[in-house]
Amino acid sequence: MRIVYPGMAERDILNAYRDLRTRLMQRTGGKQFVVLVSSLAPRMGSNTVAMNIAASIAFDEQHSALYIDCNLDAPQGAQLLHQKPRAGLNEYLVDGNVSAEQIVYESGIPRLSVLPVGTPRSTAVEYLASPRMAQLLDQLKAQAPRFIVIDVPPIEESVVARILAPLSDLAVLAVPFGMVSESQIMSGVDAVGSHRLAGLVFAY
């Protein structure tokens, strides 16, 4: 996985993400938003797209971004961190004593924070539906003005996308090359709600 950065050699990739970021910002008129990023194809996560959206938001010195990793079965967020996080989303949802500040880490990229999954737990999906998750998002939004990118597992694989969709302002669905049929796209759009859907991202 590669994270985009200004001045990288592959200009087409950089420009694609810059364009994507700009379009998302146009949707909300430049205001901070919570965007849910998921993939339409099973076993093809949306981590690259989600992380790069967050990274490209952070290009701008005016903005900061937070990447929330909700891939409970296959955590990815730790890749962005220098050391293994002590606590993550799972700890916060289970343990009432863990505060929002404790689980947000600075990444190596300026203005990009990461909220990792933490210790894997089999029952964690149910916790996501609890009011504490909504509370967490409210706290995070209140803490600092920043754009929040929630990375969820593929829609067909898990209900996480459906659970978290109502908590987000926008939704972006990744369409990996040669993996998804039209009907799968339509059911994915229904899952997140078409009014919330910002659009599709076709990824080669």
């Binding site: 996985m1 590669r2 592959e10 087409d12 990739i13 694609a16 993400y17 364009d19 994507l20 379009r23 998302l24 690259t48 797209v49 790069n52 972006v172 369409v175 090359f177 040669g178 993996m179 998804v180 049929s181 039209e182 796209i185 759009v189 078409s194 859907l197 910002a198 659009g199 599709l200 991202v201 076709f202 990824a203 080669y204």
Partner: protein
């Protein structure tokens, strides 16, 4: 289908090819080797060919020129039909030693079918055609083709002879039949003429005209004769009345003259008072009185007045003549009118038979014309037949004789060696293109745009990004593939070289 769409298809194909690169390379190699092996093991055919020229001189066409249409024939088609007949094929097989004559029926069938399949007749221009025979054996190929050509030419010549003979026979038959028809027509015309002797319409009309003129003339003559007779009668009547009066007066005059003479004689001798003189004088007076009285009242006729009058005689003669003429004219007129009536009746009969006659005459004329022409053609046909029997009108000759085949026909191993890799590349690429186009999963962004509802936007198209580890792995893999590929290529080239030099 715009350029962007095509570019996206190509990109999708290249992505898929990269994804299945190992399989792709294997497929290329397999197909290329398969083609090469096919080329190596497929049997080599040796082709022998002969070019034949057809002299298009049809016998029956000039014979029947202008009388009947003869369809023009495609010589190569005719040759093909002739060669493929079982008669010729079996003859060829026997002459070429493929059949000895006592093989089982299945064997004969298979040999015949094999020959039919491998003999090819190709038209090359209007009167030229090529016969080609291909066989796995050079010797057989050459021998069989020569046999085919020989048999064909012989058969054609025989057929041509038969054709000209049958043409002659046909013409001859026609001549005979027309002769019969002509005789029949003559007979019926003769019979008709003998039973219908009324003569022609024209002659009858002429006679009618003549008779009519004659009748008219006779009528005028009768009128004239009647008029003449009437005039003569009138004159005769006048003459008779005059004659009667003239007779009485003459009598008195004669008596008076006699008395006067007597008186004169008496007076010479006697005195006036002589009684005789007195008596004569009294007689004269008396006679004069009587003459005066009688000259007017007394009837004219006097039986004893036989007076000789030439005019009267002449008139009587004329009268008799006129009457005779008139009677004879009337008789003639009646006779002529009867003849005229007869002619009229005949005219009706002639008109009725005229139609029959003209039909018979027409039949006769037409038949005679054709018969005479046919007779002429028959002589020509006899000449053609003689020519053909002497073998001077053979219609096929060899334009380009067969050459002993030294190289097999068709594709050589080198060709297969070139085609192999091309097919090897095209085959998997074609499969991938078909896969990209027909698989319902989306590989083409513009297809995504067109198939989605409007509110679903396409935000971005993100190119593939290589992670450094992946790149390293790819490089290793490429190196391995290159080694395998060069190995395969080396084997391939070696196989081609060995194969084309006849070592394998």
């Amino acid at each position: 289908m715009d350029l962007i769409y095509i570019a996206e298809i190509l990109r999708a194909v290249s992505v898929e090819l990269r994804r299945y690169r190992r399989l792709f390379l294997v497929a290329v190699a397999v197909v290329a080797f398969a083609v090469l092996i096919f080329g190596a093991v497929s049997p080599k055919y040796y082709k022998t060919s002969v070019m034949l020229h057809a002299d298009v001189t049809n016998i029956i066409a000039p014979l029947l020129a202008g009388r009947a249409e003869v369809t023009s024939i495609d010589r190569s088609e005719q040759a093909r039909e002739s060669i493929y007949t079982r008669r010729i094929i079996t003859q060829v097989a026997q002459n070429a030693g493929l059949l000895s004559g006592d093989e089982p029926l299945e064997k004969v069938e298979s040999v015949v079918a094999g020959l039919r399949n491998n003999i090819e007749v190709k038209a090359e221009g209007p009167n030229y055609f090529r016969m080609i025979y291909s066989n796995v054996d050079q010797e057989t190929s050459f021998r069989v083709l020569n046999e085919v050509v020989d048999t064909f030419i012989r058969d054609a010549a025989e057929r041509r002879r038969a054709e000209s003979r049958s043409a002659y026979e046909f013409i001859n038959e026609q001549v005979e039949s027309y002769k019969r028809q002509l005789k029949m027509a003559e007979e019926s015309l003769k019979e008709f003429k003998s039973t219908n002797i009324d003569g022609s319409e024209a002659s009858v009309r002429q006679r009618i005209d003549t008779f009519r003129v004659k009748v008219e003339e006779l009528a005028i003559q009768i009128d004239e004769a009647e008029e003449r007779k009437r005039a003569v009668e009138l004159q005769l009547r006048e003459e008779r009345r005059y004659l009667e009066g003239q007779g009485k007066v003459d009598e008195y005059h004669t008596r008076l003259a006699a008395l006067q003479k007597q008186l004169d004689t008496l007076l010479l001798n006697y005195q006036e008072t002589y009684p005789d003189v007195v008596a004569v004088r009294e007689q004269i007076v008396e006679l004069k009185k009587q003459a005066e009285r009688d000259g007017a009242d007394r009837p004219a006729y006097s039986s004893n007045t036989e007076v000789k009058n030439p005019l009267y005689e002449e008139l009587r003669k004329r009268h008799a003549e006129a009457e005779t003429d008139l009677r004879s004219l009337i008789m003639r007129k009646a006779a002529t009118e009867r003849l005229l009536e007869e002619e009229r009746a005949r005219a009706v009969r002639v008109a009725a038979t005229q139609a029959d006659l003209s039909e018979l005459v027409r039949d006769y004329d037409v038949t005679r014309e054709i018969y005479e022409e046919m007779l002429e053609r028959k002589e020509k046909a006899r000449l053609s037949m003689t020519l053909d029997i002497e073998g001077q009108g053979v219609s096929y000759r060899i334009q380009e004789p067969a050459v002993y085949p030294l190289k097999p026909a068709g594709l050589q191993l080198v060709h297969y060696a070139i085609i192999g890799p091309i097919l090897g590349l095209l085959f998997p690429i074609g499969l991938v293109v078909a896969y990209v186009l027909f698989d319902p999963r989306i590989r083409i962004p513009s297809a995504l745009l067109t198939s989605m509802p409007e509110e679903v936007e396409l935000l971005a198209i993100v190119p593939a990004q290589d992670v450094p580890e992946e790149q390293a792995q790819r490089r290793r893999e490429n190196k391995r593939s290159a080694i395998w590929l060069s190995l395969a290529l080396a084997i391939y080239i070696a196989a081609v070289l060995l194969g084309s030099n006849g070592i394998i």
